[in-house]
């Protein structure tokens, strides 16, 4: 019997949880706020689903209920992607080491 592709996706999912577990424990506590904003940005990769939804209409009617929800989701996810990555960038740029001015 063939294995259901769902099982492969489930494997990826479970292994990613473990990867996430070890990677996040190695994040230094002083960067926990950027961690939250960057996870926010990357979880907006849900925009992939939103794009499929937005382009689901046929050529005669670009706007049907389903694609309108898609377009709205695209806008929401885009706010998060741009906002999340840029604010993370802005925060990370502020973390500086002590200047060894005296030497």
């Amino acid at each position: 019997m063939e294995i259901d592709p769902l099982i492969f996706r489930l494997s990826i999912f479970i292994l990613s949880i473990f990867v996430g577990y070890y990677v996040v424990w190695s994040v230094t506590p002083s960067l926990h706020t950027p961690l939250m904003s960057v996870t926010n940005a990357i979880s907006s990769v849900i925009i992939v689903g939103a794009i499929i939804a937005g382009l689901s209409g046929n050529s005669q009617s670009v706007f049907n209920i389903s694609s309108i929800f898609g377009f709205l989701a695209i806008a929401l996810a885009a706010i998060n992607i741009f906002g999340g990555f840029l604010v993370t960038q802005r925060m990370l740029a502020m973390y500086k080491k002590k200047k060894k001015a005296k030497q």
Partner: protein
């Protein structure tokens, strides 16, 4: 149009790039590069999606328009937002992820053909289960984050809102969510889908209202985790590896942060989630407490103490964020350093309203990150330091947590501030902190209370140095 296999490989690549983005955060030096990996992963995922659909007609232009609209709003917010408002911003962003997940699920439910999931009223069972879980978690994330946002922003009172029968009500709603998902999957009825969304929105709202302001670090991390699980649910529906990997990463990241925050308060996750902490006796406590003598001083006294110190440890808390005192604080520290006084900062894990809140504010004020220490790193140094300067923190310095088993915060790891030769405590009044209990530190022999606004007091001290 590219083949499904090729696009699956690209999605995998972007998933790996997201892992590297988080990996970069293990140190500030690698973090900026990590963020670039994240951006690259996102560009790949979006480009591949366009290529795999291969439909560059009117719809494509509209998609670009919506990306640009959302993107410019996001960019505008990212540049304008003050650093003190980060907790609100993150809560707001979580709500958007949740809502986007809900919208994608609605769209897939109405038009499953576009997603290759079957036809309306006859959606593949597995996909329907994944879709409804994704939609329910997304809806909870949305309404929960909206409440968290309102509480952090101060539009809604930060104190817990409790009522009789709250927990049984929540339990009934949670069970009915599970029953609705079960019925939805067996009947494919669209009205059940809408009911599921409505009750999920409702439970998200009800779950967060009883949780008080200072427990927000746990709530924000928890919602962060939920937004990940919602994304993963949608990822299973769409059979998209990038989404599944990211969802799992974000889900476990948020869960770990909630765990760290709970440990920082020595409370169980359920104790925080059930809420109502510190709400019960803060009215009665004021009148019943006996008056104990307190030593209070002014900026001049504080400056005198610090000038004669050889090492100073600064303990910032949420009050510093409220008073926007981080820049004034750094100026004071600069003056101290000019007088060859050693200064370091001690950060409690739950200081502020979100994980790492204080670190970001200090970084904003140009405090080098190697002068900032976590609780375990610095706690032994208090005994050898001359002055501890507590600015805007309260419960996290309360020695009662170590001495009084009756206290609600007993067992919570606290900063050993009282071991310093002298303690300067900036606070507006003697009122108790979030936990609703008196801080013993106020009445210690070696404590000097500085009753003032944190920013103003810090500026005054600098003038007197």
């Amino acid at each position: 149009m590219i083949s499904p296999n090729l696009s699956a490989i690209f999605y995998l690549v972007s998933g790996v790039l997201f892992i590297l983005a988080l990996r970069g955060l293990s140190s500030p030096e690698t973090s900026r590069q990590g963020n670039l990996f994240g951006i690259l992963g996102m560009i790949i995922a979006v480009t591949v999606t366009f290529l795999s659909i291969g439909n560059f007609s009117t719809g494509f232009i509209i998609v670009i328009v919506f990306i640009l609209i959302g993107g410019s709003i996001g960019a505008f917010i990212a540049y304008k937002i003050p650093m003190t408002a980060m907790p609100e911003l993150v809560a707001g962003f979580h709500s958007l992820v949740g809502l986007a997940a809900v919208f994608v699920a609605i769209s897939a439910f109405i038009n499953p053909i576009a997603f290759n999931l079957g036809s309306p009223g006859n959606i593949k069972l597995g996909s329907l289960i994944e879709m409804s879980i994704g939609a329910a978690v997304g809806a909870i994330t949305f309404s929960g984050s909206v409440i968290a946002f309102l509480k952090l922003q101060g539009i809604m009172s930060g104190s817990p809102i409790t009522f009789k029968g709250q927990h049984p009500l929540n339990a009934v709603i949670l069970i009915s969510i599970i029953i609705t998902i079960y019925l939805l999957c067996s009947t494919q009825s669209s009205s059940l889908f809408w009911i599921l969304l409505v009750i999920s929105f409702l439970i998200g709202f009800l779950l967060i209202i009883p949780i008080g302001g200072a427990d927000m670090p746990v709530v924000i991390s928890m919602l962060n985790s939920y937004s990940g699980w919602a994304a993963a649910g949608i990822g299973f529906t769409l059979e998209n590896t990038a989404l599944i990997i990211t969802g799992a990463l974000v889900g476990s990241s948020g869960a770990i942060l909630s765990y760290i925050m709970c440990k920082g308060m020595n409370r169980s996750f359920f104790n925080v989630i059930l809420g109502g902490f510190g709400a019960t006796d803060d009215v009665s406590s004021k009148s019943t407490k006996e008056q104990r003598p307190v030593k209070s001083g002014n900026a001049d006294d504080a400056a005198f103490l610090m000038k004669n110190a050889s090492s100073v440890i600064i303990v910032p808390g949420y009050g510093m964020a409220v008073a926007q005192a981080q820049h004034a604080l750094r100026e004071m520290v600069d003056t101290l350093k000019k007088n060859d006084i050693k200064v370091s900062y001690a950060i409690h894990p739950v200081a502020g309203r979100m994980p790492g809140h204080m670190n970001v504010l200090l970084a904003e004020a140009n405090v080098p990150y190697d002068e900032v220490f976590e609780l375990e790193e610095i706690n032994n140094d208090f005994a050898n330091a001359d002055v501890a300067f507590v600015i805007g923190a309260n419960d996290v310095t309360n020695p009662v947590a170590k001495t009084d088993p009756q206290s609600p915060i007993y067992g919570m790891p606290v900063l050993d501030v009282e071991k310093c030769k002298s303690v300067l405590f900036v606070k507006r009044s003697l009122s108790p902190g979030y936990a609703g209990i008196d801080n013993d530190l106020f009445y210690k022999e070696n404590t000097l209370m500085l009753f003032a606004d944190a920013k103003k007091m810090t500026e005054d001290i600098t003038k007197n140095l």
